[in-house]
Amino acid sequence: MSASTAAPPADESTERRSWLSGPAGRNVGLVVALALICVAGVITGGERFADIDNVVTILRAAAVTGVVAIGMTFVIISGGIDLSVGSVLGLTGVWATTVATQTMAEDLHWLVMVVTALAVGVGAGLVNGVIIAYGRVVPFIATLAMLASARGLAEMISNRQTQRVDVAGFTDFFDLDPLGVPMLIWIFALVAVAGWFLLNRTTFGRRTVAVGGNAEAARLAGIKVKRHTLYIYGLSGLAAGIGGVMMLGRTTAGTSTNGVLLELDVIAAVVVGGTLLAGGRGTIVGTVFGVLIFNTLTNIFVINNMSTSAQSVAKGVIIVAAVLLQQRFANRSRST
């Protein structure tokens, strides 16, 4: 219709939209939460907390969970869940450290171990994806089954023995610390940045949000929802594989117990980071904050010699508190 009906110009409605409603605003709650925790850390731990070495310790400890959580962010945004990441992580580590793999790695290159782990992770993820997308099994059940099977398989392969990493190239690589920053932290940073680009700048990311926001609308718009779902679980498996390699780098051994209960930490971090469990909305930055919040907290407890039981209680409280804070800020910035 004509302009005489005075449609509000576009900028009139944008002008009052504050920075709070932007993606940055949605993470304000998390920044505040992390800041509060750091203040608590300084008060109780003083020098021991606010020390550059301690910060590195926190980040190093956060790296594995962080990488797996980046993959999980995609899964949850797409409206799914992946309970199998911890088991798959354990399986990839075990598979990469079998005598056969390590012998081959000695002969060829230590990257053989890495490739093996990643392939196993992607494979397990794709199996999840096929069962979910084409078998129409709900993600909770499908990945719960994988959680059990992957762990069992890891035990069978390793015979429940610890398999030391004997390939020198591998351990040497993870001992590197370019610019004084340990390799694990570099990998975490790299994966987070890649994840951010993938989610925000690529068609893959757009599809993920669309499928999670309204799968039927996405399907009717011509998006291949099933195939995309398959890829997403593959991606989560890949993240678990990377996590598995990092775990080997950190502990220099593969055991079938690596990553037990990791899925809980990962999901908690993603959700605290503001990703909707119902799908359709979430951010990588939020997930990184979620991971940091938990690991900083754990660090404070360790510094103060508190029991693991107390840590667990505090974790629960933090989950609720962070989500509440998050909602408070989200509501203020979102139109009702």
Partner: protein, 511 residues
């Protein structure tokens, strides 16, 4: 402005409900900017206005879903605060929202009594609930809907009836209906009107929102017109001429007419060719052809299988028999990507559940089927996306123009335009439109009609489903009448009229 005099015969009664100076601001949008409304007992008060004028927002303020920024609400001359939906019900105000608000996983009876379950000591009285549900459904002319049916299995019209039944279950004094007829066909609308007349005879007041003038003529008593969040016409008599109302709504005179048919040359190639298409339980042996530049309409009652036909053509359902070809190439059955790749687009019937990613920005909804095409090697080109979205916003008069806001904050009619815009951006050889003007205001309708015709003139084959028979007849070149899942007749649109269509539909369902 015409005198804001009261309609004859209603002057004596004091208003049942009065809203004064209602203002509602959203972050970044002023939806209401001083609206007055007063409603008398036993009247049907119509609320008119363009898409985005603020009608739904006003009734959400009334129903407690939104809190007004300023203004007063009086019931029986006493000021009330309606803090939440339960408070509205306590004051006797029940609402049927524009967007279907039923819970798919619950049964019909559970939906109707949702929030006010009949229970003794925490146990629901299933039998009593079922009895009352049947009673209400019978009043609405739908004794065939079982109270125990899961609502998710009902078609859109069935859901609308459940939503209506819910409003009736409250013994309300004011019932607000936000575009109830949008999903209903003429028979259903008659049922609705019968119930409305029963209610008003008992002194219940109805606030009725619709973009269809004929309905307002049929049951309206008085009219309030909104424009850009303000009341521009108060308590006008229902006999106010359409032209005058449209001028009030839009601030200018609008020609409400169908675009001229340009005629399809006989040698125009057949683009969409459907042979013997069947889907068990929905439709049978449907064969039709749409040529380049032709608009074909499917007329029929809601539930006659028209939407299912479109969805099957589009691959969203898998046919049990028959073939669909586009430009001579057969489509893989049951594959939407195959249909989209062949140049077919579908604007679906239920925009909220089938059309929109509600939390996403308007431009992302518009480019939902094209973002991969504008992307370069998997990298999104958001600037290009915004640009085409803005072009469409301009062309379709989307309000507000801002394409970065979440589509959830747009009014219903504007959301509908966004869904259409998606396929306009995509550029289709075959465009399937399922109720394209549902919820679209009078002015924008003519524009949409013009647009559809222009697309056809550019060689697109268009297949339209609409429950408004005049719309099908006015817009299409050729009409297929569908009844009970079968095409019972086809004719050039000029050679058939509304009565004939209705007769055919009835015969078809008897046979």
């Amino acid at each position: 402005m015409p005198p804001s005099g009261e309609a004859a015969g209603t002057t004596a009664r004091p208003p049942l409900l009065r809203m004064e100076g209602i203002v509602k601001h959203f972050p970044g949008a002023k939806a209401l900017d001083g609206v007055d409304l007063d409603v008398l007992p036993g009247e049907v008060h119509c609320l008119l206005g363009q898409n985005g004028a603020g009608k739904s927002t006003l009734i959400k303020v009334l129903s407690g879903a939104h809190q007004p920024t300023a203004g007063r609400i009086l019931i029986d001359d006493a000021e009330v605060t309606i803090g939440h939906p339960v408070a509205a019900l306590a004051h006797g105000v029940a609402t049927m929202y524009q967007e279907l608000d039923v819970v798919d996983g619950l049964t019909v009876a559970e939906n109707i009594y949702l929030g006010h379950e009949l229970a003794t000591g925490g146990f629901t009285q299933r039998r009593e609930v079922a009895r009352r549900t049947r009673e209400i459904l019978r009043r609405l002319g739908h004794p065939e809907i079982s109270p125990h049916r899961e609502v998710g299995q009902l078609p859109a019209a069935g859901k609308q009836i459940v939503s209506m039944a819910r409003a009736l279950s409250h013994d309300a004094r004011v019932i607000v209906m936000d575009e109830p007829s949008a999903v209903l066909d003429s028979g259903e609308v008659e049922n609705l009107f019968r119930v409305v007349r029963e209610l008003t005879a008992q002194g219940v007041a109805i606030v009725y929102i619709s973009h269809r003038m004929e309905e307002i003529r049929a049951i309206g008593d008085r009219i309030t017109v909104l424009k850009d969040g303000r009341t521009v016409g108060r308590n006008l008599p229902a006999s106010t001429p359409t032209r005058e109302l449209i001028t009030l709504m839009t601030g200018r005179a609008v020609e409400y007419a169908f675009p001229r048919r340009t005629g399809v040359p006989d040698d125009a190639p057949v683009v969409l060719d459907v042979q013997g298409l069947s889907l068990v339980g929905a439709f049978e042996d449907v064969s039709l052809q749409v040529r380049a530049g032709e608009v074909v309409g499917l007329a029929g009652l809601v539930g006659s299988g028209r939407s299912e036909i479109l969805e099957t053509l589009f691959g969203a359902r898998k046919q049990s028999a028959g073939t669909v070809s586009v430009s001579g190439r057969r489509l893989r059955p049951g594959s939407v990507p195959a249909a989209v790749a062949a140049g077919v687009g579908l604007a679906p019937e239920e925009r909220k559940s089938q059309g929109l990613v509600l939390d996403e920005a308007v431009y992302r909804n518009i480019t939902l089927s094209t973002f991969a095409r504008t992307a370069k090697g998997g990298w999104l080109d958001e600037r290009a996306e915004r640009r085409v979205a803005r072009q469409q916003a301009e062309a379709l008069d989307l309000r507000p123009r801002d394409v970065d806001r979440a589509i959830r904050t747009l009014s219903g009619g504007n959301q509908q335009k966004a869904v259409l815009a998606r396929w306009l951006v995509h550029g289709c050889d075959v465009l399937l439109l399922d109720e394209p003007t549902r919820g679209v205001d009078v002015g924008a309708r003519s524009e949409l009609y013009g647009l559809v015709r222009a697309l056809a003139d550019n060689g697109t084959a268009v297949l339209v489903v609409s429950s408004e028979i005049p719309e099908v007849l006015g817009l299409a070149d050729r009409v297929h009448v569908v009844s009970d899942g079968r095409v019972v007749h086809q004719a050039p649109a000029q050679e058939i009229d509304e009565h004939r269509v209705l007769d055919l539909v009835m015969e078809g369902s008897v046979a």
